[in-house]
């Protein structure tokens, strides 16, 4: 037998070995079970290289199927710095090709990161140059670049997408989910030298985004943009908005505002220019809202046709004198609208009373969201009667002390042209998938009836007379029946008081009467020189109508009766 000493010492060493093995198992437990996920994530971080297969983003089409926004193919170039043998010579080759500076490129190629973008979304043809002179470690993948064929027109409506193809502004933003489609991906795992690990390739086809048909008419938009540009030139206004709709359906046919930008090169403009004033500009509507008060009074039987009013040039409201431009003298009900008489309108409003006036304005959609889905949309402001100042009953009718957006104003007044029914503005008509299947269809949606048909017709006829013989004469086109209303709203200055010589000049009009197919609102902000809506906004309206008549084939109804 071996000595006892040997056995003791052997046993001692055996214990030591078992203890060490126990510690090893403990370490394995910590590494694998306790911290396992952490390590797996770390491993994946380095190794997984997925090519996100961007789905092509859905197209945006106008109501006639013309493309307003589409994807074009591009490539994005990146590098795996570890694989680049000679960063200096590589930089010399690659920098001029991509239009980058030499130092910047070399810095990127020498980066300690495992993956660096060199330049994203460069034109597709560069691929050939890159392939011809292939540098190990410089790779690229296919991407899409958004292209707007009609830019800068429609920029505010369409918005734009960021570098990662996500909508950032306009409809690109609000309809992003439907436009984006499903991200496909090709994951493959990379080995330590950057190659694909066999069998690790997983390929999921991207699913293209849905195509979206808008209610916009590209041609009308073109007329609108042109007319607005000219108006801005003429009036030197600070800002301008034109919105065209179809009063019967609420369809928005065109929408333009200034200042504007080019959405193909959106980053060359300040974010201020991205603002879509059509939905975000808040202004006092001025007299353009008077038809609504007239319609409310008729609906409530507070006034009747043929009734006569007296305007002495001013009226006392709670010991405040509200002035008119001039004394209109004895006038009929329709004269109040034709002359845009403040005194007359205040009298009508007083007959309605605060609560009723508020209820009607609210029903007409003042202070109510239009839900166009365009970002930055304001909901306007209509104060509750109990917070109206004593002066409000005077102020509201000449329609100060409330704020609307252009789109809201057009929608409200369109109620008159749509025989008393308030419509929800429609901008998106249809959402269609790749194969032409309709995913979502938006139908014209009436919100509520505000006034009766006959009262709406009465007011529309009064508005026709505004154009025929009243403040809106400059909108008239011989042979065409046009209804409209001018508006001139004083702006509130920085001090919170009405500013002298700073106005919103506006004109809202519908044609052809008696069944208007088009409603147009023109708003000019701080026009220089002339500022009456009838003088500067009405002519813009007129220009657009002239173009529209040609386009929509609306015939002069009566050549003989052209002179009034």
């Amino acid at each position: 037998m071996s000595s006892r000493k040997f056995v003791h010492r052997a046993n001692f060493l055996a214990m030591v070995i078992f203890l060490i093995l126990g510690y090893i198992v403990f370490r394995m437990f910590v590494l694998q079970v306790v911290e396992g996920n952490e390590y797996r994530e770390r491993a994946n971080m380095v190794r997984f290289r997925m090519e996100d297969l961007l789905p092509s983003r859905g197209q945006i089409l106008d109501r006639n199927g013309e493309i307003l926004a589409r994807d074009t193919e591009a490539i994005s170039v990146y590098c795996i710095p570890r694989m680049i043998e000679n960063p200096e010579s590589a930089a010399q080759k690659i920098a001029p090709l991509l239009g980058l500076s030499l130092e910047e490129t070399q810095e990127k190629l020498e980066s300690r990161k495992s993956f660096v973008w060199l330049k994203r979304q460069v034109p597709l043809h560069l691929k050939e140059d890159l392939e011809k002179d292939k540098i190990t470690g410089i790779e690229w993948n296919k991407e899409y670049k958004r292209y707007y064929p009609h830019a800068p027109h429609l920029s505010h409506i369409l918005g734009f997408v960021g570098i990662d193809h996500q909508g950032l502004e306009g409809l690109e933003f609000s309809l992003n989910e439907e436009l984006t489609g499903k991200m496909g991906y090709m994951t493959f795992e990379r080995d330590g030298i950057g190659k694909e690990i066999p069998g690790s390739l997983v390929y999921f086809n991207p699913q293209s985004g849905y195509n979206i048909t808008l209610t916009i008419d590209r041609t009308i938009q073109f007329y609108v943009e042109k007319a607005l540009d000219q108006a801005m030139e003429r009036t030197k206004a600070k800002a301008g908005v034109v919105v065209v709709n179809d009063p019967r359906t609420g369809d928005i046919l065109a929408m333009a505002s200034r200042p504007s930008y080019d959405n193909n090169h959106f980053n060359e403009y300040s974010p201020e220019a991205w603002r879509n004033l059509s939905v975000s500009m808040l202004f006092e509507p001025g007299s353009t809202l008077k038809p609504l008060i007239m319609a409310s009074a008729l609906q409530e039987n507070k006034v009747y046709l043929g009734e006569s009013f007296y305007c002495g040039g001013s009226i006392m409201v709670y010991n405040h004198r509200v002035r008119d431009i001039k004394s209109h003298g004895q006038e009929t009900l329709e004269d109040i609208l034709i002359n845009s008489c403040n005194v007359g309108t205040i009298q009508i409003a007083q007959r309605l009373g605060n609560e009723t006036l508020y209820r009607y304005l609210k029903n007409f959609g003042i202070g109510e969201s239009c839900e166009t889905g365009l970002n930055g949309e304001e909901i306007g402001l209509l104060r509750k009667p109990r917070s109206w100042s004593a002066l409000s009953i005077g102020a509201i009718p000449i329609v100060q002390e409330m704020l609307v957006t252009p789109i809201q104003l057009l929608r409200s007044v369109s109620t008159i042209a749509n025989r008393g029914i308030l419509m929800k503005p429609r901008l998106v008509k249809k959402v269609i998938d790749e194969n032409g299947k309709v995913v979502r269809e938006v139908l014209p949606s009436p919100v509520r009836r505000v006034i009766d048909e006959e009262n709406a017709d009465l007011v529309l006829n009064m508005m026709k007379k505004v154009v025929d013989q009243g403040t809106g004469k400059k909108a008239a086109i011989p042979g065409y029946s046009i209804a409209g209303k001018t508006g001139t709203g004083q702006k509130i200055g920085e001090d919170g008081r009405y500013a002298i010589n700073r106005f919103y000049s506006s004109f809202i009009g519908f044609f052809p009467v008696p069944e208007p197919r088009f409603g147009i609102l023109v708003v000019l902000d701080e026009a220089q020189g002339e500022y009456y809506g009838g003088d500067i906004a009405a002519p813009v309206f007129r220009e657009i109508v002239q173009s529209l008549n040609h386009y929509a084939g609306i015939m002069s109804e009566n050549a003989e009766v052209t002179v009034y």
Binding site: L21, R27, L31, Q32, Y39
Partner: protein
């Protein structure tokens, strides 16, 4: 089994006489046998899985390393059988000649046409079809030599100058040769084996502490002042691998990522990701990391348990052996295997710096496989001699 017969006759009798083989089978220690077989199988499978990437990359044949490992296992199995039958007296008689042979072979690696330089170090002798690493043989021959000498000269146990120093000289000569390769890990391993054998051989603890304390400055000199950047780098990588995650720390970080990302049940056999040129030496010294990645905590614990089993049997065989030489040899062999296991796993788990020691029976590498198989064969042999068979 007749101990008087020549071992070659015994070998031929196994082939000719089925009865002998049956006896061999029934006399074998089953725990030791099955743990060895299982480790070999795990090793083969994992070598195939881990080496596939490098095989395809360098030889366009996914089975390249696997085939070589198969050949190695077949060859080793032959020597394993030889070792189970060989007369232990004969082994003992040959101990000093074997030691001399391994010292000569250690020297031969430096000669052109015989030695073969791989990766900047002279560790190999080229036999044409197969390369052999003499330092592996040195481990075994040192154990046999010391078991023999310690058993023969038991009376010198209390004497420092006659009982300890001669062994230090022997291992010193070997150590110098190995360190010139340069291979610090194996040098330390040889030193470790020497001290363990001296300890088992009943030397005074204090006598063992002197040379250990004397050796520490030498070690520090070798690491920091000898001009070999590699050893220093390994130590630095161990202390803080994240300082240079793409440089010195790369291998150890990739190893931790591999074993850690396996989690509880692993990614699945063949599913390792780190073997794709992230983890260097993935089929040799770091195969345990790939096992951890593919088979998870369950797999790594399984391997540890198999080695525990192997160790337990070796330890029992040693303490139940009736012969001093055989007891020392058995315990020396068992501890030598376990030290390699511990060094290897510790390097993979960042418990110790990387020492370049393979995982016995599992790692790719013919020299280590051959020597380990012979060692286990000797264990079986000793077990039979002392009749500590499990079924007894």
């Amino acid at each position: 089994m007749g101990t008087n017969e020549d071992f070659l006759n015994q070998w031929s009798s196994v082939k000719s006489n089925e009865n002998h083989f049956k006896r061999w089978w029934w006399e074998i220690d089953p725990y030791l046998f099955w743990s060895t077989i299982l480790l070999l199988c795990i090793g083969l499978i994992m070598v195939f899985s881990a080496s596939m990437t490098t095989s395809i990359m360098s030889y366009s044949d996914p089975y390249y390393f696997f085939k070589k490992q198969m050949v190695g296992v077949a060859l080793s199995s032959f020597f394993f059988f030889v070792a189970t039958f060989i007369r232990l007296d004969f082994v003992r008689k040959m101990s000093s000649k074997l030691l001399l042979l391994s010292v000569v072979m250690l020297a031969l690696v430096f000669f052109p046409y015989i030695g073969r330089m791989v990766g900047g170090s002279y560790r190999w002798i080229d036999f044409g079809i197969m390369r052999f690493q003499p330092s592996e043989l040195a481990k075994l021959s040192l154990i046999i030599y010391m078991a023999d000498t310690l058993a023969t000269h038991r009376h010198r146990a209390q004497d420092f100058w006659y009982g300890v120093v001669p062994f230090l000289l022997v291992v010193g000569v070997m150590g110098v040769l190995v360190i010139m390769e340069p291979d610090l890990g194996t040098t330390l391993f040889l030193a470790g084996i020497t001290f363990i054998m001296l300890f088992l051989g009943g030397r005074k603890i204090i006598h063992l502490l002197y040379p250990i304390f004397a050796g520490i400055p030498i070690l520090l000199f070798l690491i920091f002042a000898s001009g070999n950047q590699y050893w220093k780098a390994r130590l630095e990588a161990f202390v803080d691998p994240w300082k240079e995650p793409l440089g010195k720390g790369f291998q150890i970080i990739q190893s931790l990522i591999a074993i850690g990302s396996g989690g509880l049940f692993g990614r699945g056999l063949g599913e390792s990701r780190q073997k794709f040129f992230y983890l260097p030496d993935q089929h040799t010294d770091f195969i345990f990391a790939i096992i951890g990645e593919e088979l998870g905590f369950v797999g790594t614990v399984g391997v540890v348990i198999l080695f525990c089993l192997l160790f337990w049997r070796g330890w029992q065989i040693a303490i139940r052996s009736g012969d001093d030489f055989q007891a020392l040899l058995a315990m020396g062999i068992t501890l030598s295997i376990m030290m390699q296991v511990i060094f290897n796993m510790s390097a993979v788990l960042k418990i110790l710096p990387v020492s370049g020691v393979p995982l016995p029976l599992v790692s790719y590498g013919n020299s280590s496989m051959l020597i380990t198989m012979i060692e286990i064969g000797l264990l079986f042999n000793i077990a039979r001699q002392s009749r500590v068979n499990h079924f007894e």
